[in-house]
């Protein structure tokens, strides 16, 4: 068995705002090549983000201990049994056993740190509060687990970038996030855990794991995916010297963006961009056109775009009119943005549920009549996804179940079945319309 994973690389930098305030970097990073009991190489990368609030006085220590403890827990498990093919219980390990070991070890480690250097008041894990994102890469599978507001992106050899994992709990938004210091921390890993088998003929790809400072520095998620693709590519090109390149990039990202600490870890299966299919170098994720390598997806997009061209008349009925001319011109920026958004989503159907869950508030607002679909559609150029959701809102009467088969205006824009199904799911999850006023 040949392990095609390159040794992971990464960098972690204090944010621009933290430097100005003379605060330490509260992020931590650890990348390491381990060996299983049968001698197979296993790559591990961990990032952690110590909370910035002033209650979390030692979160810089907490994040470092989180990464160290996570790697130690992985190493112990690998000594007990080799990561064979098939699941072999490793999914459960990522969801339950590893989190329990990581949290228990972290609590011991932070308490030991407190006793080595006691501070004012009693010991509290809260003082060390931190997130943790962890990726384990074996020859036969790769998996992720953790808690908090880290993001994980998969970058294909041709440069396409796909958001694999993000914190989607609506309660953990704004600056709030899940943390190792919470009493139920070990149970919070499961929704963020998944195991992905590696097919023997899988193309090269890279995994980009980062703390929230990077995504929050990007104006849009499309910018974030483009940046992740570039980080994977540039880090890979620089090889073992990549840290300097990455550090300079991270400094710029924080300086021109959120000001937060920024950390990235990159694992690579093969070398993205050097496969024959990717001759000419990777395309920027933002500028990509529907990609050919995935036949089913490519077909869906092609069919969709065909429908979009054929369905201009239907579209005119459902899309907002902004005064004369009566029919929105097919070349309007809003319509073009909406069409591109449909194509982008349908080119990466596994990202659709996440993208829509992030707009759960909008679904609820539309369902309750608290958001104006016409206004959202009119603003499609600025927020095409919101416009698409608004265009899909079902006209339901209070007390009447939603229609299971209804006209779907988005089909005229080329919406693929995955998009329509995900929209249905999100509508089903939205709270029901309020009852009519007496």
């Amino acid at each position: 068995m040949v392990n095609r994973w390159a040794a992971p690389i990464g960098a972690s930098r204090a944010g621009a705002a933290h430097r100005r305030a003379n605060r330490p970097c509260q992020d931590a990073l650890l990348c390491r090549e381990l060996r299983s009991a049968d001698g197979r190489p296993v790559m591990v990368m961990a990032v952690a983000d110590g909370h910035g609030g002033r209650r979390y006085l030692r979160s810089d220590v907490g994040s470092r201990l989180a990464c160290e403890g996570a790697l130690a827990a992985v190493e112990r498990a690998l000594q007990e049994r080799p990561p064979g093919d098939g699941d072999g219980g490793w999914s459960r390990w990522l969801e339950r056993e590893l989190p329990e070991a990581v949290v228990a070890g972290w609590l011991q480690a932070v308490e030991a740190d407190w006793h080595r250097q006691p501070g004012e008041g009693p010991f509290q894990p809260l003082l060390y509060g931190s997130t943790l994102g962890l990726v384990v890469m074996t020859p036969l599978w790769w998996g992720h687990t953790g808690l908090g507001d880290w993001d994980l992106v998969r970058v294909e050899a041709d440069g396409r970038a796909l958001l694999v994992e993000e914190e989607s709990d609506p309660a953990a938004a704004g600056e709030a996030t899940c943390s190792l210091c919470l009493p139920q921390a070990a149970a919070l890993f499961a929704p963020r855990a998944a195991l992905h088998p590696i097919p023997p003929d899988d193309d090269a790809f890279a995994l980009v794991l980062c703390t929230d400072g990077i995504r929050k520095s990007c104006a849009t998620d499309a910018d974030f995916l483009t940046l992740a693709a570039w980080l994977a590519r540039s880090g890979g090109e620089a090889g073992s010297e990549g840290a300097g390149t990455l550090e300079a990039a991270l400094d710029r990202i924080s300086r021109e963006g959120s000001g937060d600490d920024v950390t990235v870890a990159i694992g690579r299966l093969g070398v993205p961009g050097e496969e024959p299919a990717a001759a000419g170098g990777p395309a920027p994720a933002r500028a990509q056109t529907p990609p050919p390598p995935r036949p089913a997806i490519g077909r869906a997009v092609a069919i969709g775009l065909g429908l979009a061209a054929a369905g201009a008349a239907l579209l005119a009925l459902v899309w907002p009119r902004s005064g004369p001319p009566e029919v929105l011109p097919a070349a309007s920026p809003g319509l073009q943005a909406a069409r591109e958004e449909v194509a982008r989503l349908c080119a990466q159907p596994t990202t659709i549920p996440l993208a829509l869950r992030r707009r759960a508030e909008l679904f609820a607002a539309l369902r309750k009549g608290q958001a104006d679909p016409t206004r959202l559609k009119a603003a499609a150029a600025g927020d095409p996804l919101a416009a698409l959701i608004a265009a899909d809102v079902a006209p339901t009467a209070p007390g009447v179940p939603a229609q299971t088969s209804r006209p779907r205006p988005l089909q005229a824009l080329g919406a693929c079945p995955a998009l329509l199904a995900a929209l249905d799911q999100q509508w089903a999850a939205a709270p029901p319309s309020p009852p009519p006023a007496p």
Binding site: G53, E256, A371, D383
Partner: protein, 246 residues
């Protein structure tokens, strides 16, 4: 490899005044004092914004009397803001003002990556419309739940209970920290100090990206942004400062 063509951007910080413009605000120069206090606070607010380039401070204002209306509807960068005087006259449609702000806090138009907004409610009286409905509409908005909500009571006729409901209860009163109670301004000087504090110290605190633990029933919440201390001259917001004018 050259850095990619991506748009990096600082994070918007929305600051919204909700100003009582009822007829009683015309008495004893309260309206004039409020206009002057806000206008005088703008240079300091702009300086704080410059010192925290990772946040893009955007100001709006709602006035409420017989009805609520946007006084400044477009989120305006603080260094471009020119304060037009508010005029007093009418009753106190505070609930309608809350509804107006609630609508503005939907996503979109609110950006997913925005910093928690700052809402400052200033009033000298009691709401004359359905405050509870307005408050409920506001608190349905996740951005309102995450917002830093401050209230300034002008004079002794202000409804402190209503203002406290706007702020929310003080979740974890801690020694040495500013309490989460309405700030009581009894004259133009203290009003100016509170407005200055809200527009500089609070904006500065809200501008810093500082993650925190997701609150659970097992953990006492600490508020969205740790509020900085009040100005030294008015450490206890319930104390009168100088001669009571209002």
């Amino acid at each position: 490899m050259p850095f990619p063509d991506v748009k990096l951007a600082n994070r918007p910080l929305h600051f919204i005044y909700l100003c009582d413009c009822s007829g009683s605000m015309a008495a004893s120069g309260k309206m004039q004092a409020l206009n002057q206090a806000i206008r005088q606070s703008l240079p300091g607010m702009a300086a704080v914004a410059r010192d925290n380039p990772e946040a893009r401070v955007l100001v709006r204002a709602v006035s409420f009397a017989d009805h609520a209306a946007w006084h400044i509807q477009t989120p305006t960068p603080v260094d471009q803001l020119e304060w037009r005087d508010l005029q007093a006259g009418g009753i106190t449609a505070m609930g309608e003002a809350l509804q107006l702000v609630a609508a503005a806090l939907q996503t979109p138009p609110m950006e997913v990556r925005a910093l928690p907004p700052v809402l400052v409610l200033i009033s000298d009286g009691q709401p004359t419309d359905d405050f509870a409905a307005g408050m409920a509409a506001l608190l349905r908005m996740p951005w309102a739940q995450k917002a830093v909500r401050l209230a300034i009571a002008l004079g002794h006729d202000a409804d402190l209970e209503v203002l406290q409901r706007f702020i929310g209860s003080d979740p974890s009163p801690t020694a040495g920290r500013s309490p989460r109670r309405p700030l009581q301004a009894s004259n133009a000087t203290s009003l100016a100090q509170y407005i200055q504090w809200a527009s500089t110290a609070v904006v500065g605190a809200a501008s810093m990206p500082a993650s925190r633990v997701q609150e659970t029933p097992l953990e006492a919440p600490a508020g969205n942004i740790p509020l900085p201390d009040l100005p030294p001259t008015v450490l206890d917001p319930t104390d009168d400062v100088g001669l009571t004018v209002w």
